[in-house]
């Protein structure tokens, strides 16, 4: 019992914390780039520019989402709620440009 307690009191980060932090780092590196995000909750999709990362929140200047009423504003998206994301990199595929007036 005492051994277990001692284990939990280690100050090293757990694997979950490391994993979560790695994700946050990935977003921090992507600041200023275009990003595509899918979340399980409404409105499900965000496409825009990753403006800033505040703790574990990605601030995205959203140009496109599923409905137009929620576009052209900054969204705070909890990074650990994101199911799928893609930060556009040089030499990698571009995020499709989505326009209503195709």
């Amino acid at each position: 019992m005492s051994q277990e307690k001692a284990n939990t009191e280690w100050e090293y980060p757990t694997v979950n914390v490391l994993h979560d932090q790695a994700l946050v780092e990935e977003f921090i590196e992507g600041i200023g780039k275009n990003i595509f995000i899918m979340t399980p909750s409404f409105p499900y999709i965000f496409i825009g520019k990753l403006v800033e990362v505040i703790e574990d929140q990605a601030v995205v200047d959203v140009k496109v989402t599923t409905i137009s009423e929620l576009e052209n504003r900054q969204w705070y998206v909890h990074i650990h709620q994101i199911e799928v994301f893609y930060i556009q990199q040089k030499g990698q595929p571009r995020i499709p440009e989505l326009r209503d007036d195709y």
Partner: protein
């Protein structure tokens, strides 16, 4: 909480409208406190409707115990049977079923029913003491009502006074923390015997024949014929024709039918109920949309709902009254089946924009009753002289047709001062009083110029034609369509969500039409473009003329602009004319707009060029998978002539609504009578090798392509059953937690998106599969190519198909060969379960009353054939396999010429329209629903350019089906000869069970191969009793003496009035019916012992011939219900005292005790909540039955589930019940 209601059943004169149409022999339930009052009011008002004469609606909250003291003042025993409730079946069933004591009340007596109400919804109640379907019956005369069960903690008030309310069709329901809502009971019912004010049968002034039978809402109807008489006499609007002003309050004042009042934005729950005896009605509500299942936010979005007899829905419009755009005005609600709509099955939802405190009047001086604002919503503004509110700013003139809306009509008028005061800040054509396109910021505007034109349309290669076809076309296609360069097809517009759609609509119809065998000369002089689903200003863009609204249609030669917003709802929106649809919608006046996901683009599937309209297109999208999109619009009442100009299926007199004409899909049909071939063998009717491809739509795709079928019905009255063979889709389009289906019931105005992938190359049959529809040509193909073709672009996001290495198949005129190799899509190491099945002739005894089919054809396992031929009465073949199994079927035909009832090749009974020579096939096949198989070898039918999958006598055909999913009930049926086989019993069921399940005989405990009644044992699941019900109709039976039974007429308890006998039933009502090759027709019982109240009693008659299922209290039960038979009349299924989830794959779905809209191909799995005896495990006899008084219950479609109180020797207990 305990609630107590004292309810009395009384006979009462029901006056159905202000014209004095009445039912002398009406019956109703009423609260005791109102009994004397209502009787006195009716006595004083014999010729006008009395507001207290309404279906009894009482209320309780979830969790309540409700005591109903029922007092019977009808002159024979009656009762109240409640759906949905938990109760002791021995004393509160409101029926006299099986071995239960009767819970009916004799005349003058009282009985106490005790109910527990444990889920929200509609607990419809009706009488089961008298199941007679004739005009003497109780239900047809009004003995029905509803107990509405509200969320726990609710209370309700009178919408007018704000005071307490004990009963009533309208209530404002409040809750401590949920929003208040208006509750509207909208109770359809039909066939009520009705006389006009003179005591005669009502006549139609146009035809001078009797008008349609009564189709009413809440004991009221407002027939066009009554109102038209005022036009004819010159009392009002002498220049009007009739139909175009039927709903116009400026001409006639408000109707007697329900006017459901509320303020803009009010939350609402419609309790939509069909208490009728016969018809499946189609509820449509203008301007609003709702989730099909109010408990499921991912459920499909609807704005029309089919509702079968004794079934119900809760309709909760999104965004409240006026929808997202905040529209106000009159939104009509109606049954969309035009003959019903025309005869008065409609009401108005009146959405006020100003406060009604009782001080205002309508334009005709009628006072506007007070209407309490909902307490948790902002109070609407008081009307002022400058802003009087709807309808008092509209510049109409009493007695004349409603005025046209301002701005919309090209060359039309500007706004009046009052209109300007009521308008939005930037009024424009089509959006004057509500701005739907302002929902989004600067949405894309898509503009279409549409004309409605008249032209002859040829429906098939035999020259069947509609000389006055009427269709919508884009103006740019108009010349090409008129000159024959382009085939006429329903106009399908494509757009993306988030579009502002503008339609410039021109009426190019001649002012006068018809004058032929089908229709009298009619001055259909104005027309419109009325839309469903999208958002719009109801006053300017409804394309209709209803209530105190404007008439937003145009005269011949005029153009009007409508404006709509297509928001996120990805449905196909139906459009049609709303001024003369009863006259001409069946000539083709319908089309659709498909709202695709945002950012889609649309390509011509052949050329790859961008398009914005077309029945079949390819839709591409940067993110989601690209797909093929096809619209199928089915219609009935197609008024066709043959190539020599002879009318096909003309009515008895012109302009009769009694099922005239035939059928079409996208203005085409491919009747089977023309696809017999040289051999005269029906087995190859669907073969393109023998007859070429059908003229009906063929959807082209490549193997693996995603497809979306937009299924709509354009006209006019009847239910249809859409089936796709070999493919399947998720039942609720946006929701992944939903069951798989391959069949969809549809009625006019409904719209379904069926989304699926085409897994393999081959020809897939789609069909509207009731016998009469299919016979008359409602079928076509989905063709998936395995190699490239030059008329179909590949989907850009899929791999290109391989280059073509072999030529496309061509018609040869000869029957195709069998497939050389039959493979299964399952893994190579999947367990294989083989069934050797034989189809053979054998008499089937349908009842203990000697009813039988001497010509029966059944499927049976080879090992059971001898026993059946030696006299064992057959049951439908019911086989099972588990998920992961490959099922190998080896099918043999032992059919013989000379063993069919109509060897001359014309099947006389049950009949279909357009009887023709079609001799019996000796070949047979077995088609299975919902399983995974290669349609080129194992669809159980010979379709398109697929190899032969039917089998000749003495030969064997093999199919391989892979059970990739435990889909539960699947229908099985023959597709070799749909005319000469199905009525004789060529159907069965396949049940796809969970992996690891074994099936045990409930009596011996031994493993069994077949049977309707088994115990399922699975190491991970509770032992469950599985009861399989194969609901059938269209059977051809003879009685003990060998005389043909003409059901339903021969089984009507109260007999048929000779005056009605000619047109009482439609073709598709004919035939006998029941479950599992058995029937228990009540007429036999009545003739033996003439007491209506005892007809379901086993104490008097012994148990019924239909399956008797047995269980112990609390035993888990799953009902598997299939309907593989043939007729177009939809059925309802109900089990007394039990309920289940609406979707067995979605545990949060709505809980119900009824399943409606059951028609050919319907399958459903019903795991009963809490098992046998429901929540309280009450033992007793529970009736399972149809909900159709006309004409199912008395024709034998009922049976019993017996829940034994104690251990019976013959019935094994389930392991779950053992204490160890």
């Amino acid at each position: 909480m305990k609630r107590h209601y004292h309810v009395v059943a009384i006979s009462i004169r029901i006056v159905l409208n202000n014209f004095g149409d009445y039912n002398r022999d009406g019956m109703m339930y009423v609260l005791k406190e109102n009994e004397q009052k209502v009787k006195e009011l009716v006595r004083k008002n014999p010729f006008s409707p009395v507001s207290l004469v309404e279906p009894l609606c009482i209320r309780a909250n979830v969790g309540d115990e409700v005591e109903v003291l029922f007092e019977n003042q009808i002159h024979y025993a009656t009762g109240m049977h409640f759906q949905e409730a938990d109760y002791n079946v021995l004393n509160s069933d409101g029926a006299n079923v099986g071995l239960n004591p009767s819970s009916l009340a004799e005349t003058g007596e009282k009985i106490l029913y005790t109910l527990k109400v444990n889920h929200e919804g509609v607990y419809m109640f009706s009488d089961l003491g008298d199941p007679d379907s004739s005009d003497e019956g109780t239900n047809i005369n009004g003995m029905f009502g509803c107990l509405f069960v509200e969320p726990r903690g609710s209370w309700w008030t009178d919408p007018v006074t704000g005071g307490p309310l004990n009963s009533g069709v309208y209530a404002d329901v409040h809750h401590p923390f949920l929003p208040s809502y208006r509750e509207y009971a909208f109770i359809f019912h039909d066939e009520m015997p009705t006389k006009d004010v003179t005591g005669n049968r009502p006549l139609n002034p146009e035809t001078n024949q009797e008008r349609e039978s009564t189709h009413a809402i809440n004991y009221r109807y407002e027939p066009m014929e009554n109102r038209a008489r005022l036009l004819e006499e010159g009392v009002v609007c002498p220049d009007c024709e009739g139909e175009e002003v039927h709903h116009d309050s400026w001409v006639f004042g408000d109707p007697a039918t329900p006017i459901l009042r509320g303020y803009r934005g009010d939350p609402v729950k419609f309790r939509l109920v069909n208490a009728g005896v016969k018809e499946t009605h189609a509820f449509h509500y203008h301007v609003h949309q709702w989730s099909k299942d109010p408990k499921n936010t991912e459920s499909e979005i609807l704005d029309a709902q089919a509702v079968s007899p004794q079934s119900w829905y809760t309709v909760q419009p999104h965004y409240g009254l006026g929808s997202l755009q905040g529209a106000f005005g009159d939104a009509i609600l109606h049954c969309h089946l035009y003959p019903h709509f025309g005869v008065g099955m409609w009401g108005l939802n009146r959405i006020f924009d100003t406060l009604q405190d009782g001080s205002q009047c309508y334009p005709n001086g009628e006072p506007i009753a007070q209407l309490q604002p909902l307490p948790d919503r902002p109070c609407p503004p008081m009307p002022t002289k400058e802003k009087p509110g709807f309808p008092n700013f509209i510049p109409g003139k009493l007695g004349c047709k409603a005025p046209r809306p301002p701005l919309g009509i090209v060359g039309g008028r500007d706004m009046t001062k009052l209109e300007k005061n009521a308008a939005i800040p930037n009024p424009r054509p089509g959006s004057v009083f509500a701005d739907a396109c302002a929902i989004a910021e600067n949405p894309v505007v898509q503009e279409f110029n549409v004309s409605l034109i008249q032209l002859p349309i040829v429906y098939n290669r035999q020259g069947w034609n509609d000389p006055i076809g009427r269709i919508y076309v884009l103006d740019e296609d108009r010349e090409d369509v008129l000159s024959g360069k382009k085939e006429p097809e329903p106009l399908v517009l494509h757009m993306t969500a988030n579009s502002c759609v503008r339609i410039n609509f021109t009426n190019c119809l001649p002012e006068v039409a018809a004058g032929n065998a089908f229709q009298l000369v009619t001055r259909a002089y104005e027309a419109s473009f009325h839309v469903h689903f999208v958002k719009f200003d109801v006053l300017a863009s409804d394309g209709s003329n209803v209530g105190w609204n404007y008439d937003s249609s145009v005269l011949s030669g005029e153009t009007i602009r409508y404006e709509y917003f297509a928001d996120v709802e990805l449905k196909a929106w139906f459009f049609h004319d709303h001024l003369f649809p009863g006259f001409h919608q069946q000539h083709g006046v319908f089309g659709t707009g498909v709202v695709h996901p945002r950012f889609s683009s649309f390509l011509d599937s052949k050329t790859g060029e961008e398009v914005d309209h077309g029945v079949q297109i390819t839709a591409v999208h940067p993110l989601i998978p690209d797909y093929r999109d096809m619209v199928l619009m089915v219609h009935d009442f197609a008024l066709l002539f043959d190539k020599d100009g002879c009318p096909l299926q003309p009515p008895e007199f012109p302009s009769s609504q009694d099922d005239p004409g035939l059928f079409g899909v996208n203005y085409k049909n491919e009747p089977l009578q023309f696809r017999l071939g040289k051999d005269k063998d029906p087995a190859y009717s669907f073969s393109s090798f023998v007859h070429g491809d059908p003229i009906t739509p063929i959807l082209h795709s490549y193997e693996g392509d995603p497809i979306r079928i937009r299924l709509l019905q354009g006209a006019q009255e009847e239910s249809h059953s859409f089936n796709v063979h070999g493919l399947r889709w998720k039942a609720e389009y946006p929701d992944s937690e939903t069951k798989l289906r391959d069949q969809q019931h549809i009625s006019i105005s409904e719209s379904f998106t069926l989304q699926m992938d085409v897994p393999r190359a081959g020809d897939y049959l789609w069909t509207f599969e009731t016998e009469e529809d299919l016979w008359n040509g409602l079928w076509g193909l989905i063709r998936a190519f395995d190699e490239e073709v030059d008329f179909l672009i590949p989907l850009p996001d899929r791999q290109c198909p391989p280059k073509r290495t072999k030529a496309l198949p061509e018609p040869t005129g000869k029957a195709p060969a069998k497939a050389e190799v039959v493979t299964s899509p399952g893994p190579v190491n999947a367990p294989v379960k083989s069934f050797n099945i034989v189809a053979f002739h054998t008499p089937i005894i349908y009842s203990n009353w000697g009813e039988r089919d001497p010509f029966g054809i059944v499927f049976a396992l080879e090992e059971d054939v001898e026993e059946i031929l030696n006299g064992k009465n057959p049951e439908p073949l019911i086989i099972r396999a588990n998920q992961g199994d490959v099922v190998e079927i080896n099918l043999t035909s032992r059919l013989e010429r000379g063993e069919f009832p109509y060897p001359d090749g014309i099947w006389k009974y049950p009949p279909v329209k357009e009887q023709a020579f079609y001799p019996p096939s000796l070949r047979i096949s077995l088609h299975a629903q919902l399983l995974d198989y290669d349609v080129k070898t194992s669809a159980g039918e010979t379709v398109g350019f697929n190899p032969d999958q039917t089998v000749a006598p003495g030969d064997v055909v093999t199919y391989k089906w892979y059970v990739d999913n435990p889909v539960g009930a699947c229908g099985l049926w023959d597709m070799a000869d749909i005319r000469n086989h199905r009525s004789l019993g060529t159907y069965g069921a396949f049940i796809a069970e969970p992996k690891g399940t074994v099936y045990l005989d409930p009596f011996s405990g031994e493993e069994v191969e077949t049977g309707a009644n088994v115990v399922l044992r699975n190491p991970f699941l509770l032992d469950t009793r599985e009861f399989v019900l194969v609901m059938y109709d269209g059977a051809r039976l003879v009685d003990r003496k060998g005389n043909l039974i003409i059901d339903p007429v021969d089984g009507i308890l109260g007999g048929v009035d000779p005056e009605d006998s000619d047109d009482l039933v439609d073709t598709y009502d004919n035939g006998s019916r029941g479950f599992n090759y058995r029937t228990e027709r009540l007429i036999n019982r009545l003739l033996k012992y003439p007491e209506l109240k005892d007809l379901f009693s086993s104490k008097v008659f012994g148990d019924p011939s239909t399956p008797l299922f047995e269980a112990y209290p609390g035993d888990p039960i799953t009902i598997r219900l299939v309907n593989p038979s043939e007729r177009r009349r939809s059925h309802t299924f109900h089990i007394h005292g039990h309920y289940w989830n609406n979707d067995d794959k979605d545990i949060s779905s709505e809980v119900r005790s009824i399943e409606g809209e059951i028609v050919t191909g319907h399958t459903v799995d019903l795991p009963l909540h809490y098992g046998a005896g429901s929540l309280y495990n009450y033992p007793g006899d529970y009736m399972y039955r149809s909900g159709n008084i006309r004409w199912d219950i008395e024709q034998g479609m009922w049976g019993i589930i017996r829940v034994h109180a104690s251990k019976e020797k013959h019935l094994l207990e389930l392991k779950n019940n053992n204490e160890d």
